[in-house]
Symmetry: C2
Subunit: 314 residues, 2 copies
């Protein structure tokens, strides 16, 4: 395991980096960028004055402010780290502060909607390179970030046609320096891929935790006690930030509902197999799914330790 990033760069990639929204992702970027020397100055911006104060106390940025328009002035890289539903509003608020040659990016889990919200607000001469680091934990807020969050994780870039190649290369270099593997695809394909690898899994997890809490035949206390049988695995992602996830579902509606439709078809077949005692159908599926986990482990996206390497609480 690599606990730390490599040696800091001799020359930063950006002079002045603005992070708008300093939660888990924004604060992890601040920490990694500082540790790796990726920007000469890091400006942390959050509309919540409480967060601004905590960022100052944590000392993870050079400057911290609640004023986005003033904060982005003279910055050559501006990253929106806010819920995807807020991207349009933030872009409108900062447009007059953006300097020519600046590169704007984001970290949203939905890309087509973010492009549609942000691009119209950007002045001539400002490049937009949307990004999505596929990394996170179930915790939120500036205290929850850490500099190795992006290490060995994928970061997907969805540059619109006409993006200046040097802007794309700087953003790629930035994420690579934080330890990520970078992949480029269209916003539409991104939204389809993430619908199945992230959005629908979250929806299903939220759903089962909600259903379990509402049963009248099994008490909530029983659900909690006996959760080690599998249920508790779902509660991790069902503990993710409610605002962030509300926005993701509303902004990736089409792909989420389509993937959910597929899932519903398949679960109907499984229910039928159970009802009709078709053990072979069940056995064959359960054998196939085992192989997929092995691939995820082999490709470094999952720990090989049993039970996620969970430590047992006392």
């Amino acid at each position: 395991m690599t606990d730390r990033l490599g040696a800091p760069r001799a020359e930063p990639i950006f002079e002045r980096l603005a992070l708008i929204g300093v939660g888990l992702i924004g604060s992890s970027i601040a920490r990694a960028a500082r540790e790796m020397g990726l920007a000469r100055t890091i400006v942390a911006i959050d509309r919540d004055e409480g967060v601004v104060g905590r960022v100052r106390d944590l000392g993870i940025a050079d400057e911290a402010t609640g004023d986005a328009l003033a904060g982005v002035r003279d910055c050559d890289h501006v990253i929106l780290c806010v819920p995807v539903g807020a991207c349009g509003t933030v872009a409108a608020a900062i447009r007059d502060g953006l300097k020519p040659g600046a590169v704007v990016s984001d970290v949203g889990s939905v890309k087509a909607s973010v492009v549609a919200q942000v691009a119209p607000h950007l002045p001539e001469g400002v490049a937009f390179v949307p990004a999505h680091p596929v990394a996170g934990t179930e915790h939120s807020g500036p205290e929850s970030g850490f500099p190795t969050l992006f290490l060995n994780r994928w970061c997907i870039l969805t540059p619109p046609e006409g993006t200046p190649p040097e802007a794309l290369e700087r953003v790629r270099a930035f994420w690579t320096a934080m330890g990520s593997n970078v992949e480029i695809m269209t916003p539409e394909h991104h939204d389809l891929v993430l619908a199945i690898t992230s959005h629908v899994p979250h929806l299903i997890a939220y759903n089962i935790v909600g259903t379990a809490a509402d049963l009248e035949t099994v008490t909530q206390s029983e659900v909690i006690k006996f959760s080690a049988g599998g249920f508790r695995d779902f509660t991790r992602i069902a503990a993710s930030d409610p605002t962030m996830w509300r926005d993701i579902f509303l902004h990736n509606k089409g792909a989420v509902l389509e993937m959910l439709g597929r899932l519903n078809e398949d679960i109907a077949l499984l229910a039928r197999a159970i009802r009709w005692d078709d053990g072979d159908a069940l056995f064959n599926l359960f054998t196939r799914t085992r192989a997929i986990r092995r691939s995820i482990i082999t490709q470094g996206q999952e720990t090989p330790e049993p039970d996620f390497g969970r430590r047992r609480p006392d």
Copy 2:
């Protein structure tokens, strides 16, 4: 964290313990029972001669055999650690070897079906105390067991009416000594509780992993690469033993299909909320589910560390 069990007992609870089926659960019982001195002699029985050989090599039992009928002779505690679909066959095979006063138990994840399969085969004077330790990992086989598997986990007993109190107390003492909290309920209620806390979560996990592998718009390689967005959490339980899980679904059909029906109702409402932009409905659910994870952590059934305390693979 407690890595080790306490001091071994001065006097064992059972003279001669037979474990039929030496996979993850059977081999963990063998290890824990030996470490705690819960039986004077441990007899490991498996119909797979390869497993019998590996058990001998591992040295986790005093005797190892492929012959169940001979293996249970003179044993005062016999635990069936086989897939729930095999319990009736095993009970029929050992009935003539069971000695009067012996206590038979099992570790199956379904209880009503196991009681129906096993009870008719047991001779007069042999008690049956069905048990279900709610513990496990996604790994299988005698190598995957460890003595602390049951520590701080719940073990549910479902004794039929007329079970001699002293048989029940000995089984309770046995599981308590291995570190478990013991709860008693009816087989029917057990099956309902486990349907929602374990069986349906597994079914949903198997289903989404299968669906994702079959998409034509997203490649399997993309699913694997970008699995850190949430999908990989589901692959752990979808990597569980296929035979064991096929049997669970076929033997807890009623409760599984009923709980799945609930889940489908609720997911339809969620899909509708997404389609109609009802952000408040989503936000309210996502806030509620966060609180449930906190309770599971508080009650010692889950680690408080972010991301399950996963170590990042290199």
